[in-house]
């Protein structure tokens, strides 16, 4: 795990290397390990990567990963003001406290959510997968249609080869190698890592220069002052961590969203919002505590329901499948050792991260002197070796190549890759549950009449419209009613979920929806009167 954290810290610090890529590249090393060891290593990389991004952002102004973009807003100015050690310290300790908060919520919430998940039937699972795909598509970029097309393509890729239920070959086009379908790892490495590396070296001049022309200098992290500053801002830490956790729970919305959201909220809640961007501790604490907490939320979804919260947990889900462990609501009760190992690994990785930060800072400074094309070439061959190590089959290397080309083309055409990867991961789960649902009853209305299924399909429908809502908000009238109608729509299935608490929550939502609707009409009436 220590090696994992170190690798994550370095990978996270290098601009152009995402955390997902670091986790993907770690996967081949875990084949020889037990599931517990493998998952712990990957969690180490994940936590290290989340915290590594801040090093580059603060010392050079270029964020190492998308999850540390907002950290740069105040981290870099603080470092330029002559306090790089304090800036790094605040970043490290905010990450630590955010991660620990995420771990506490993970341990508390995951078993509870898993208990709710046990109520799910195949209809509900199928609807949940659809929701995960639609929300990932709608959050992954401006092009919603391209996002949904990418997600659907992912489902199709998962459908190629023998189907899991009947063992019938599909779309093999006479090629026996395709009968087994495309293995998950080569597809993932090809789509994500291979294509990312090629995009990184696309600019010929940039690729042959050192990663950071200005260079970064290793500095001494001021731990004591930083801890005092972070503890003084405990409200910001807590609020940002909770924003992070709940962003993580939402499928598709990862730390790249939460760090900006937390920064924005911290600015809005601050008494001195004008000081944000000038190098104040609040501006570092908010994004750094939220991005580490986000993965706690994403792990909750993966462990409790078997649905990845983001691309990184999608890779982890793939790692679990490689080790013949299928995450589901019964995962925590059936695999307690593995489940609690994940909890503990996530918790301890944060301590290791703090300890390794100083060492990694020195290694990071050395790596910044290496040109991108050298790193890319070496990693490309590493991808090939790692992919081959999975099944010792040459066909996997051709799969890697094919999906590498596809990923590169899709990136250049503006298709988001996250929905496609999620589609590949969730394709089998969706089909299996559709099959189970159909075997129990061929009544399709059950997808709309079962409360949980109706709940997820409602969320899926509203998440599909969400990008349009964002685009038209403030300029078109219908957007005023988006949120009240959404509240009404989700209240109905919640009302029918049974028990005592849920109908009460459903009733409260209806009251809230009615109030919001009334407010919207109130806001509209004076405008109309003044117009008359």
């Amino acid at each position: 795990m220590t090696l994992g954290v170190t690798a994550g810290l370095i990978a996270g610090a290098i601009p152009g290397f995402t955390i997902a890529m670091a986790v993907v590249l770690t996967l081949p090393f875990t084949f020889g390990m037990t599931a517990t060891e493998g998952l712990s290593t990957m969690i180490g990389v994940l936590v290290g990567g989340l915290s590594g991004g801040l090093m580059a952002g603060m010392l050079t102004g270029i964020p190492g990963t998308p999850s540390s973009v907002a950290t740069t807003f105040d981290g870099f100015p603080m470092a330029r003001k002559g306090q790089p050690g304090l800036a790094l310290g605040i970043g490290v300790w905010s990450s630590f406290f955010g991660g620990i908060t995420g771990a506490v919520v993970l341990v508390t919430l995951a078993p509870q959510l898993a208990r709710v998940g046990l109520e799910f039937g195949p209809w509900d699972y199928f609807a949940l997968v659809m929701f995960a795909l639609t929300i990932t598509s709608s959050l992954s970029g401006k092009a919603l249609l391209k996002g949904i097309i990418a997600g659907t393509l992912g489902l199709l890729v998962a459908a190629i080869g023998e189907d899991e239920v009947n063992g019938v070959a599909r779309f093999t086009f006479g090629n026996d190698a395709i009968r087994q379908g495309f293995a998950f790892l080569p597809v993932l490495v090809g789509l994500f890592a291979f294509s990312q590396l090629l995009s990184d070296v696309q600019d010929r001049a940039k690729a042959s220069k050192p990663l950071m022309p200005k260079g970064a200098k290793a500095v001494r992290v001021e731990h004591r002052r930083a801890i005092v500053e972070v503890l003084r801002l405990w409200v910001v830490v807590l609020r940002s961590s909770l924003i992070g956790v709940f962003t993580g729970i939402l499928p598709g919305a990862g730390s790249s969203v939460s760090n900006i959201l937390a920064y924005d909220q911290a600015k809005k809640a601050s008494k001195n919002p004008d000081e944000f961007g000038t190098g104040i501790p609040d501006g570092i604490v908010a994004p750094e505590s939220s991005n580490n907490a986000t993965e706690g939320g994403a792990l909750i979804m993966m462990m409790a329901l078997g649905i990845p919260g983001d691309i990184i947990t999608a890779v982890m889900l793939g790692a679990l499948l490689i080790h013949d462990v299928v995450p589901s609501p019964s995962f925590i009760s059936e695999e307690p050792v593995l489940a609690y190992s994940i909890f503990i690994a996530f918790f301890f990785a944060h301590f290791i991260m703090v300890a390794m930060q100083a060492l990694c800072l020195r290694i990071f400074v050395l790596i910044t002197r290496v040109p991108m094309y050298i790193l890319a070439s070496v990693i490309l061959i590493y991808c090939a070796i790692g992919v081959f190590a999975l099944h010792n089959v040459g066909f996997d290397l051709w799969t890697l190549f094919l999906f590498g080309i596809l990923g590169y083309v899709m990136r250049n055409l503006g298709f988001p890759l996250a929905p496609m990867i999620l589609g590949v991961v969730l394709g089998d789960i969706a089909e299996l549950n559709l099959n189970r649902a159909w075997s129990i009853s061929n009544d399709l209305s059950l997808f709309f009449t079962r409360p949980w299924s109706a709940f997820f399909l409602t969320l899926a429908a509203f998440s599909t419209v969400f990008p349009l809502y964002q685009r038209d908000r403030g300029s078109k009238n219908w957007t005023q009613f988006y949120f009240p109608i959404f509240v009404f729509a989700i209240a109905i299935p919640v009302m029918f979920m049974g028990g005592t608490v849920r109908p009460v929550i459903g009733s409260c939502l209806i009251v809230l929806g009615a109030y919001l609707m009334w407010r919207r009409f109130q806001q509209r009436t004076p405008r109309r009167v003044s117009a008359e």
Binding site: F29, F31, G32, L145, K146, I148, I149, T152, L153, L155, L156, A159, D163, V165, N166, V168, A169, R170, F171, F173, L197, L198, S199, V201, Q202, R204, A207, S208, P371, Y373, I374, A376, S377, V378, L380, I381, Y382, A384, I385, F388, A389, N392, G394, L397, W398, F401, G404, I405, Y408, N412, L413, A430, E431, L434, N435, W438, S439, N442
Partner: protein, 178 residues
């Protein structure tokens, strides 16, 4: 317009080229769906299955066809060309140069895969890394020297880790036997 034909700004030009590209991609997707839908009728039907193996992929394909059609309509509707404007010609050479590094990587990786049964992972890997580094980076004698050293050290280290550390069998070639 005073008889002169408008030249497009950079953004407009990009919009126009995207118009062509999106339309082409949408048409390609429709063709792709057509081929796969046709292939879905060759999937063996079983008597024992409650839901046939062909149902799920066919559902996906029908949905993908609808989306692709929507994408085609969107590409035609939203990226109209300003009236009278002539698109700046974006040469094939410019496009080729833009993706040259990626093409080098694809070429060397493809050759690496083809030569794998003969050269093996170690020698093939060293040749691949050296060739890629030289294609993407400097090509003077110093560059060749550095690239060769990097290729031997990086691939050798990884090969040793996987072969001896992780006990993974990596393919040996017919030429070098390792």
């Amino acid at each position: 317009m005073n008889g002169r034909r408008l030249r497009l700004s950079e953004a407009e030009e990009s919009s126009v080229s995207r118009f062509h590209l999106d339309t082409l991609v949408a048409i390609f997707l429709l063709l792709f769906c057509g081929i796969f839908l046709t292939a879905s009728f060759s999937i063996r039907e079983t008597s024992y299955a409650s839901l046939g193996a062909e149902v799920w992929p066919r559902l996906i394909l029908i949905f993908l066809t609808l989306l692709s059609f929507g994408y085609l309509v969107q590409s035609v509707r939203h990226h109209g060309r300003p009236e009278g404007a002539v698109p700046e010609r974006r040469g094939l050479r410019q496009w080729f140069l833009r993706h040259l590094n990626a093409f080098w990587c694809f070429l060397w990786f493809g050759l690496f895969l083809l030569s794998l049964p003969h050269l093996g992972m170690l020698a093939g890997g060293v040749v691949f890394v050296y060739a890629t580094l030289t294609s993407l980076g400097r090509r003077d004698w110093y560059g060749h020297l550095v690239h060769a050293a990097i290729a031997v050290m990086s691939v050798g280290t990884m090969w040793a880790i996987f072969t001896y550390g992780l006990k993974v069998f990596l393919p040996a070639g017919t030429v070098f036997f390792f």
